[in-house]
C-alpha cells in the first residue's frame, strides 16, 4: 500500500519538494541486500530489505519533528538512518518512511577546554577526528569505522571500537542528546534540557540517558536522535595527519610519542595476563586484535599485500610460501595491536617501559616484522584512523562475525582447550566445506578494552564469504546455524551470528511473533524486554518504530 496522497503532501510541506521522493527507482536504491553484510542475521541470498514508501531528507530537528507528527497522524512507520551501516538502518516492513539524515551534517561545537563536541547525525568519525585534531583532541572511532556516523554510534547502535580502552565506549562518552521521540515530542536529556549547555547527560534526578540506550541503542526504532554531545580525548600529535602512500597502503610518519606495536604471546594464558596488566597499568591509546580479521593463517600475507600498493590479492598464494611471511604469521598467532600515545616525553618512555615489563612477565614479544618503518607507519595510521573498513569485505565481498566470546579476557581464553581454540577448531571443519574463506579458523577480531579503562575483551570471529555466490552465501548461513547451536551447547553466550534474528527473518521482513517471543523469552532476563515493551507503549503509542526494538509481547509472567 503506497503512502496516502494527503500524507505525502503534508510530508512535502515539512521538508520541501526537493527533499522527498517516492520514485520507485530511488526507493530501490534505499534497499539493502541481505546477502551482503547484514549483521547479524544470515546471510540470506538475494533477499533485500523491504521497499520504503518515501525517502525524506530532513534538514533540522524541527523538520524531523514535523515528519514524526505526520507519521503519527497517518499511522505510518518511519526509519531514520545516518550512514546506513548494515541492515539495521533499513525498514522491516513495506511502506515505511525512510529518513536519510545526510543533510544534518554539522559539527555544532567543539569545546576544547571541557573536551566535548556537539554533532548532528551525519557527522562521521573521520570528519570529527580531523576537526578535533586541529585543537589537540581526538574522538573515539567506533567499530564500523571512520566513515560512519558518530551520533548513530553514540545514541542508537553499538559504540565500541579499537580505542575504547582509552577513549571509552560511546555509551560512556554521551554527554547530551536531543531526541525527537516517537510521539513527536522533543526531549533534551541532561543539562541541555535545562538550557544550560551540553556538559552532563544525567539528571535532574534519575538519568533518562538510560532510556536512550544500553549496551546497544534502539537501532532507529524509537524516534530520531537529532543532536548529541560526545566527549573528546587528547591528541598528542600534529594538527593534521600527514597521510602518504597509495591506497590501501596509506601510512603516516608521526612523532615519536606515537607508537604502534603488534604483540605476540606464547599462550592464551599469557595473552590474557597481558590484557589484565594493561588494564591495571593504564597504558595504551588504542588496543585491538585488528589484523586477525583476515584470519590466523592469512594475516601475515594480507598485511604485506595491504601495505604494498604493487601487490594484489592474487599474490597471496606466493606470499604464504615466503618463509619470512610464515615467520611473521606464526609470531602473530596469538596477537593484538596496541598504540601508545605519550602526552610528554616522560610519559611515552614510561609507557614503553611498562609495556616491555608486561611482555617480560608474560613471555610476549613485539612482532619484529611489524616494526619495519613502512609497516609501523601503516599500522599506526590504520589503528588511529580506522579508515580501512572496506577491508572487512576484501576476500569475497561479504563478511559477518560469529561466536562473540564477549566478557573478561579470561572468558575467551580459558577452558581446556582454550575456548578460542575450541571455536577455531569448529570453524576449521566448516572452512573445509569450501563455502567460507579458509583462513585458519581463527578470525577473532575485537577490542582489548570493551569499556573505558578495560575489563572486557570482545571478539567476533570474522567469516568471509561471497555474497554473489549462492552456495557460498547459503553455506555461510548453515555455518551460522551450526555456530549458534554450538555456542548455546557450550555456554559461550549469545552468538553474534544470530544477534538480530529476533528482528529480521529470512524473507527480510519482521521475524514472526512466535519466533521472536521464543528468542527474547529465552534470554537470561526476559523481564528487561517486558519493560522495554512498556517503554514502547508509553513513548511510542502508535508503534511507529520496528522490530529492532526488543519487546517481549507475552503477558507479564
Amino acid at each position: 500500500m503506497a503512502l496516502a496522497k494527503e500524507a505525502y503532501r503534508e510530508l512535502e510541506e515539512v521538508v520541501g519538494k526537493e527533499y522527498i521522493s517516492d520514485d520507485p527507482a530511488l526507493l530501490d536504491c534505499y534497499r539493502y541486500p541481505l546477502s551482503h553484510t547484514a549483521i547479524h542475521i544470515g546471510p540470506y541470498y538475494r533477499v533485500y530489505t523491504p521497499r520504503g514508501a518515501a525517502v525524506l531528507l530532513p534538514g533540522s530537528a524541527e523538520e524531523v519533528q514535523g515528519i514524526v507528527k505526520v507519521c503519527n497522524k497517518y499511522k505510518v512507520k518511519f526509519k531514520p538512518s545516518s550512514t546506513f551501516w548494515s541492515a539495521w538502518g533499513f525498514p522491516l516492513e513495506d511502506d515505511t518512511i525512510q529518513l536519510d539524515m545526510r543533510r544534518m551534517d554539522k559539527i555544532l561545537e567543539i569545546d576544547d577546554k571541557n573536551n566535548y563536541a556537539v554533532v548532528e547525525p551525519h557527522v562521521i568519525g573521520a570528519t570529527l577526528q580531523a576537526e578535533a585534531m586541529k585543537v589537540g583532541l581526538n574522538t573515539h572511532i567506533h567499530g564500523p569505522g571512520a566513515s560512519c556516523s558518530c551520533l548513530a554510534s553514540a545514541t542508537a547502535l553499538g559504540g565500541l571500537g579499537p580505542d575504547t580502552l582509552y577513549m571509552g565506549h560511546h555509551n560512556e562518552n554521551l554527554l547530551g542528546v536531543e531526541w525527537v521521540m516517537p510521539d513527536g515530542e522533543i526531549l533534551k536529556i541532561g543539562s541541555v534540557g535545562s538550557g544550560l549547555g551540553w556538559f552532563c547527560c544525567d539528571g535532574p534526578g534519575p538519568s533518562l540517558k538510560g532510556l536512550v540506550r544500553g549496551m546497544v541503542g534502539t537501532n532507529g526504532a524509537m524516534g530520531v536522535f537529532t543532536k548529541c554531545a560526545i566527549k573528546l580525548y587528547p591528541w598528542p600529535g600534529p594538527a593534521t595527519l600527514p597521510v602518504e602512500g597509495k591506497p590501501p597502503a596509506y601510512k603516516a610518519v608521526l612523532p615519536d610519542n606515537l607508537r604502534a606495536y603488534t604483540l605476540g604471546f606464547p599462550s592464551w594464558k599469557a595473552w590474557a595476563d597481558s590484557c589484565y596488566m594493561i588494564f591495571d597499568s593504564g597504558i595504551g591509546y588504542v588496543a585491538h586484535r585488528q589484523f586477525n580479521m583476515f584470519g590466523r593463517d592469512l594475516k601475515g600475507a594480507m598485511v604485506r599485500i595491504l601495505s604494498d600498493p604493487t601487490r594484489t590479492l592474487s599474490d597471496i598464494e606466493e606470499l604464504l610460501k615466503d618463509p619470512e611471511v610464515q615467520k611473521m604469521t606464526e609470531d602473530m598467532k596469538r596477537d593484538y595491536q596496541i598504540v601508545l600515545a605519550g602526552m610528554t616525553p616522560g610519559d611515552i618512555e614510561w609507557q614503553d617501559k611498562a609495556l616491555d615489563k608486561i611482555l617480560e612477565e608474560t613471555g610476549g614479544w613485539k612482532v619484529k616484522a611489524m616494526l619495519e618503518p613502512d609497516l609501523f607507519n601503516w599500522s599506526l595510521l590504520y589503528m588511529i584512523r580506522l579508515g580501512h573498513k572496506n577491508l572487512n569485505l576484501v576476500f569475497g565481498g561479504g563478511y559477518d562475525g560469529c561466536f562473540g566470546l564477549g566478557g573478561t579476557p579470561d572468558f575467551g581464553t580459558s577452558g581446556e582447550p582454550a575456548r578460542v581454540e575450541q571455536v577455531t577448531a569448529f570453524k576449521v571443519e566448516w572452512e573445509k566445506k569450501g563455502n567460507v574463506v579458509a583462513c585458519g579458523g581463527d578470525g577473532m577480531m575485537g577490542g582489548i578494552g570493551g569499556m573505558g579503562g578495560g575489563g572486557h575483551s570482545l571478539w567476533e570471529n570474522f567469516t568471509h564469504f561471497d555474497p554473489a555466490d549462492k552456495a557460498s552465501t547459503e553455506g555461510t548461513f548453515e555455518f551460522f546455524n551450526a555456530t549458534a547451536k554450538y555456542g548455546a551447547e557450550k555456554g559461550l553466550g549469545p552468538g553474534m551470528e544470530k544477534m538480530n534474528d529476533y528482528a529480521r527473518w529470512t524473507d527480510g521482513y519482521t521475524t514472526p511473533k512466535e519466533i521472536r517471543d521464543r528468542i527474547l523469552g529465552s534470554a537470561a532476563q526476559p523481564e528487561a524486554f517486558r519493560y522495554q515493551r512498556k517503554f514502547k507503549e508509553t513513548f511510542n503509542p502508535n508503534d511507529l518504530g520496528d522490530g529492532y526494538y526488543r519487546t517481549l509481547d507475552d503477558p507479564d509472567e
Partner: protein, 487 residues
C-alpha cells in the same frame, strides 16, 4: 492482622520496630526538610525479603522509604514526605559477596560501608575510590547510586563510575539484574566460566541502573551491586598547588585533565581544607587564615607496573606543567602537609563529620557545571551571603572534576549554628536565594534534593513529563518514597 505483624511475617519480629525514639530519629535530618514521622522501621536481610516488602507495600498502598547509610543525614532524601511511611533500613545487608582481584570488581550489599569495605579490598591489593571523606557509616552503594562525586577524575569514564552491575527490586515488585550480570542466568555459573560483573550497561537496549540513580529511593531498591576497584597504590604522594584565585589554577587543572595525569585531583579553598584538617572551631579558624586561599590537590600513585617510575615522571612533568602556569607543585604549604592531606583523603571522616567540625550544622549547595564557569558561581554565593550577613570567609568551596574533566561537581559548604534560630532562619533564606540565582546563572542541579527539585524541574518540562511516565512504569502505585523529586 496488624501492620507490624504483617511485616514481622516477612522479616521476623526482631527486624520490625516501632520504638518512638527510633521513629523520631528517622522523621528528620539536618536539612531544612519538614519532619514527618514514619510508622515503622523494618530491616530486611535478603533480596527476597525486600521483594516481599515491596509487593506488600503495593497491596496495602504503604509508602516505603529506603535508607542504607547510618546517621547523621543531611539532604532530606530519607525523611518521609508523606505520613504512614515504612522505613526500609538496608543497613543489615552487609555482605561483601565477592572480591575478584584479577577483574578488580567487588560485589557488595547495600549495607556495606566504606569503613568496612576498604580493609577487605586492601587484603586483595585493591581499594575503591571514594567521595571526599565520606562519613563512617556511609553506604557505598547509596553513595554511588546518588552519584556522589569521587576523587579520581581520570578513572571516571562514566558519571556513575565505579558503580557497575546492580540487582534492583523495582517499585512494582519485579526484580532485574543490570549490566553484564543481567546477561547471565546465575552468578555462580558466570564466575565458574571466568566472567565477572564488570560492565555496567544493559541488559537490552536500556541502561536500567540509570533510572535508580539520583532517584532518592523513588524507583526501587538495590539489593547488591558490583563496583570497579583500583589497584592499591604504592607509592602514593600528594602535592599541593597553591594560588590566590581559583582562575589561576584552571589552565593547570585543564592540562592535567587533558593528559589524564594525576590520580586524585580536586580544587578546594582554604575554608574547606580547614574543615578537613582543622581541630575544633578554634583550630579551624586559625587554619583558614594560615592556608593559601586556593589549592589544587594532586595525588600521584604508582600501581603494579613500574610504580616508582610512574610517580617519578608524573611528579616531574606535573611540576613542569605547573611552572608553565606560574604555579608550583609543593609537598607542603603553610598549614598543610601533603602527607596529612593524603591521609585524610584516603580515610572516612573523623567524628564529628568534617562539615560539622566548625559549627553544629551546615548547609551545602551542590550542582554540576564546567570548571571555567565556577568563578561566576563563587561570586554569586559570596554576594548572596554578604547580603544575608553570612561571613563569607566561612564559605567552603570544593570543585571536583568529573567524567575526565568534561564537567565538575561544584559544592559550597556553609556551616551555621542549627541551635540558633536566627542563624538557621538566615541560612534557610540564603539557601533559597543563592540556589535561585545559581540556577538562573546556569548551575545544573543534577541531584535535586529538597527545594532544588521544584527549581530544577520547572526549567525542564519535557524531562519532568518523561520522568513521571517512567515512574509510572516502575512504580505504578507510587509506593517508593512518594513526594520526592517530581513524583
Amino acid at each position: 492482622m496488624a501492620l507490624k505483624d504483617e511485616l514481622a511475617g516477612i522479616v521476623g519480629s526482631e527486624c520490625v520496630s516501632d520504638d518512638p525514639e527510633a521513629l523520631d530519629a528517622y522523621s528528620k535530618d539536618l536539612s531544612f526538610v519538614k519532619p514527618v514521622k514514619p510508622r515503622l522501621i523494618i530491616k530486611p536481610g535478603s533480596a527476597d525479603e525486600v521483594q516481599a516488602i515491596v509487593r506488600w507495600a503495593n497491596q496495602t498502598a504503604t509508602p516505603l522509604v529506603p535508607v542504607s547509610s547510618g546517621p547523621p543525614r543531611f539532604r532530606g532524601d530519607t525523611v518521609p514526605s508523606v505520613p504512614g511511611a515504612v522505613i526500609v533500613d538496608m543497613s543489615g545487608m552487609k555482605k561483601i559477596m565477592r572480591i575478584d582481584r584479577r577483574n578488580r570488581v567487588a560485589m557488595i550489599e547495600p549495607g556495606v560501608t566504606y569503613t568496612e569495605l576498604q580493609p577487605e579490598l586492601a587484603k586483595e591489593g585493591l581499594r575503591l575510590t571514594t567521595p571526599l571523606l565520606p562519613r563512617a557509616g556511609k553506604s557505598v552503594v547509596a553513595s554511588l547510586l546518588e552519584r556522589e562525586p569521587t576523587l579520581i577524575p581520570r578513572q571516571l569514564w562514566a558519571s556513575l563510575d565505579p558503580l557497575r552491575c546492580n540487582e534492583i527490586i523495582w517499585g512494582d515488585g519485579n526484580k532485574l539484574v543490570t549490566g553484564d550480570a543481567g546477561n547471565w542466568t546465575s552468578m555462580e555459573d558466570a564466575w565458574e566460566r571466568k566472567q565477572a560483573p564488570a560492565g555496567a550497561t544493559g541488559p537490552g537496549q536500556a541502561d536500567f541502573y540509570r533510572f535508580v540513580s539520583a532517584a532518592q529511593g523513588s524507583m526501587g531498591i538495590v539489593t547488591w551491586a558490583s563496583v570497579k576497584c583500583e589497584i592499591l597504590p604504592a607509592p602514593h604522594k600528594l602535592f599541593i598547588v597553591p594560588a590566590r584565585k581559583p582562575d589561576d589554577l584552571f589552565d593547570f587543572t585543564y592540562r592535567l585533565l587533558k593528559f589524564r595525569f594525576a590520580d586524585e585531583l580536586l580544587l578546594i579553598n582554604n575554608s574547606s581544607l580547614a574543615y578537613i584538617l582543622g581541630d575544633g572551631p578554634g583550630g579551624i579558624k586559625a587554619l583558614m587564615k594560615e592556608l593559601p586561599p586556593w589549592v589544587v590537590l594532586v595525588g600521584i600513585a604508582g600501581r603494579s607496573i613500574l610504580p616508582e617510575e610512574r610517580v617519578a615522571y608524573q611528579e616531574k612533568d606535573i611540576a613542569d606543567i605547573a611552572g608553565k602556569s606560574g604555579l608550583k607543585l609543593e609537598s607542603a604549604v603553610p598549614g598543610a602537609r601533603g602527607d596529612d592531606v593524603l591521609k585524610a583523603l584516603l580515610s572516612t571522616s573523623r567524628e564529628p563529620y568534617w562539615k560539622l567540625g566548625y559549627k553544629a550544622g551546615y548547609q551545602d549547595i551542590l550542582f554540576i557545571t564546567t570548571l571555567n564557569r565556577t568563578p561566576e558561581y563563587i561570586k554569586t554565593v559570596k554576594s548572596v551571603a554578604e547580603a544575608s550577613g553570612y561571613p563569607t570567609s566561612d564559605i567552603g568551596v570544593y570543585v571536583q572534576p568529573l567524567h575526565q574533566g568534561a564537567n565538575v561537581h561544584c559544592e559550597f559548604i556553609l556551616p551555621f549554628d542549627r541551635d540558633d534560630s536566627k542563624e538557621a532562619t538566615g541560612m534557610q533564606q540564603l539557601l533559597t536565594k543563592a540556589s535561585e540565582k545559581l540556577i538562573e546563572q546556569g548551575a545544573f542541579f543534577s541531584r535535586p534534593y529538597g527545594i532544588w527539585a521544584d527549581m530544577a524541574y520547572k526549567r525542564d518540562a519535557q524531562t519532568t513529563t518523561v520522568l513521571k511516565k517512567l515512574k509510572g512504569i516502575f512504580d505504578p502505585n507510587n509506593v517508593m518514597n512518594p513526594g520526592k523529586l517530581c513524583f
